[in-house]
Symmetry: D2
Subunit: 279 residues, 4 copies
């Protein structure tokens, strides 16, 4: 069982949480905490074995939320072996999609991908190889709202819990995000540098000596969501824009896979536009 | 206050430790734990504020050791703001010594360096600049035992708690280590590659594409002590041995400084020839 | 056209080579040289456009080899847009094979893979997805020589120019290497550390803080061949052997892909057990 | 002798330059070239031994500049063993200054530092230790122009060829840069992210997972000058702003030292707001 709790800081919190687990006969496998002194917040992630735990699965949640309420905080509960249902949104580029499908099928990432949605047809054969449902939903300026509704319908039909923008190259509307907010994006720069379009071209123009990739949660403010993971690669004057794009594909995959792993294992806590990673 | 405890794993340990702190009115600032499943060991590091703590400084230690005994474990206690008394052993090369003296004097590393011992005179002026006592103790094959006794005498006189081999280029005898075992060395390779002498020359001969530096605790088995930190630098066919040595100086300093910081802040726990770093 | 030349160092070599290209009307696109002072050797890689070049393709080779002879050296000639015919040898693990097939099919690596040979059947479906011939050649201690002959027959039939050991987990015999010597392997450690079997297990046992992957040419001396590329990943006490293996998969792919790119673009020159990479 | 030449690209340039050196009896030690296809420019760096060279030192320059004129380009000539005269501008922070003085005195960087200028008195003792002239020139909004004139006077008096802003924390006026343009700065972010003031604070606010340092030539546009080197360090949610500043000190030193080494060895060529590094 994994408990993630965030609440105002005060003495005795670690003891209170660990005590609650212990008093119910739980054996803590991992426990990690962080105090953000500036924000006055306490963050905790505790993972324990359910075997021999006094409370049945049904009773854990109400008890935990009562505890969180008492602490003026918010708690999230997940089973350690949970497999998250994930939809991948893509466009034409295959590298991230292939990487994710492989990591999913090999068991490296604890997720199940029942659905891939793309606004182009290029990636259909790849999905077929992996036996994953592919849905083609083209996006134009005129049909965007309707397309997003269709996507949300599919999410609901497939019981999607997390969406990954794997080089989707489309901006989700605030309306969409209000209805479905668990979305991770991979941006091809070390944010906050080169927000927006064509970061590799702009990185080349600026003559940087390293390029980056940033995996982050999607919010209404483009490329301003909480950062989960960043990775870089060195470049030199010999690298053309195409080389930056090529090198970028490697770090995009790595940053996205690491971020996902953190997310899927419930190691990420988001607060005040930032993340704590209990890795 | 920092408590580091290692004991056989069993349910309830986090709760027991955190509860003990909380019951005495302590506010936990950091708490980090690790279970080595293979070894069946539980490692814990808890840091709490002494202000308002029920036990006086004198009473904490006996209580903690009683607790550790009850758990069949071993505990170490340190004050969070403790400044460790450090002796640096050096030879002719200045880069690590200068770096350490600067990090010490600037307050970056919580240590006090009352004594530098070297088997050559080259570094005396540098020590004078920093106002640090310099002692010249030459080492020959014949006088080695006596020289080591002299070093131990000085350690005792200066109440040294930790010795750093900052490119000392001498091997401490088992006898020395039996009397004074808290010693950190910086080895100029990514161990276990290139143990022993002239690692940069051998790295060049092997044609490696990266070189490394390893900060580790010194044990009787040369270069086999528990590793605290490792850092690498890229090299190419354009690099001669001298370039490896030059690039190595940068990573030696970084690896050593990071390792020391972990050690001095009591973030390192050693067990079964390895370290857990609670950073 | 790409010329790689290695010969004893003496004044005037850059001018002689560049002059030969220019006198025949060639426009040099890249030119890179290296002098290994210790070995007394000069290495040069010159790439020029064939358009407008005075010599026909057939006449270039004899002229270049005459030039090399005059310089007491050895030359290798390749067309810039050449697509190397590559066979991949694999076992059960899919990560490197999938990565290579994708990089090949996406055009990222200038190679054509007509053949995959494995000593297990697991990877057959993956090859089918990519439309690549899969051949199952099991290896036992008794049939090893015959299996190797079969592999060599296939290499010959498919006009293979380079073999990649993508987690093949088998040692090629000296006899094999005598008949086919262009072989690149990916070893899962930062060589020369952890040569041989189970490097991740041994890395864990040693308590290293970083793990590595090394792409190298295969020679008769196991894991002692010329190193092309090395990559590392950080590990901590929280990582079990399985985590090292997982993290290793990412750096194995990266190191192998980088090394291959260097090789396929004729950017690697091998001499005296080491490589110069003209990247 | 080191020749750096930039001119419009056309066939035969490598041969022409190498031929000129060879025809005068020079032995080329290094030769490196780059063609920026987009800009239509050819960049070349050739280093050769003066021993046995047909032209006397006095005659080389006019010949080279005639050659450059013929190619519609610009050439720069330097002796390989030249020691550049460098002034360091600093404020209160010692880490970069100490690092530079040590690298200079140890011979790691081929420069001579006859002068340090600071707008505070804190660093005077450090300069005294190294036997370097320290000049205190405070800067206020009102005296800025006069202070800059004073600095320029000192530069002229001490025959300064290069100025390093080692955490100077002051912006040089366009007027200053017109009179003295060879200036390298270390900025504490991975530019173009976090231009301007307090980059570590802003990096913390944004919740980035890595911080950077950028060494660049100073131009009138703040933090927009040609980038020479960039280095990064990982950060986590456990790092406060002070930790970012501490970690940053290490990467600032490394990035600045590497950039300086490139510059002092004439390995940097600047064009169109970017650099080519012939390393």
């Amino acid at each position: 069982m994994i408990l993630q709790l965030i609440c105002p800081d005060r003495p005795g919190l670690v003891s209170e949480l660990a005590g609650w687990v212990a008093n119910n006969g739980g054996n803590i496998r991992h426990a990690d905490h962080h105090t953000d002194a500036g924000a006055g917040l306490f963050l905790s992630r505790i993972e324990w074995e359910l075997e021999g735990f006094a409370l049945s699965k049904e009773l854990i949640a109400p008890e935990v939320h009562a505890l969180a309420n008492r602490l003026d905080g918010k708690a999230q509960l997940n089973f350690s072996n949970e497999i998250t249902r994930v939809a991948i949104l893509a466009s034409k580029q295959s590298h991230c999609l292939l990487d994710l499908l492989w990591r999913s099928s090999s068991g490296e990432l604890p997720m199940h991908v029942p659905l891939v949605i793309a606004n182009h047809l290029d990636l259909e054969p790849l999905c077929r190889d992996f036996g994953v449902e592919f849905m083609y939903i083209p996006i134009t300026q005129r049909n965007k709202l309707r397309a997003e509704e269709k996507i949300l319908d599919m999410f609901s039909k497939y019981k999607i819990e997390l969406a990954i923008l794997a080089k989707y190259m489309q901006i989700l509307s605030p309306k969409f995000l209000k209805e479905f907010s668990e979305v991770i994006n991979i941006h091809h720069s070390f944010l906050p540098a080169f927000k927006g379009a064509q970061p590799y071209h702009r990185a080349w123009d600026r003559g940087v000596k390293l390029i980056g990739a940033t995996a982050h949660y999607v919010t209404e403010d483009l490329d301003d969501g909480p950062i989960i993971e960043q990775t870089i690669a060195n470049v030199s004057h010999r690298d053309e824009v195409d080389d930056l794009i090529r090198k970028g594909r490697d770090i995009e995959r790595i940053a996205l896979a690491r971020a996902l792993r953190f997310h899927l294992r419930r190691q990420v806590m988001v607060y005040q536009g930032r993340t704590a990673i209990f890795a």
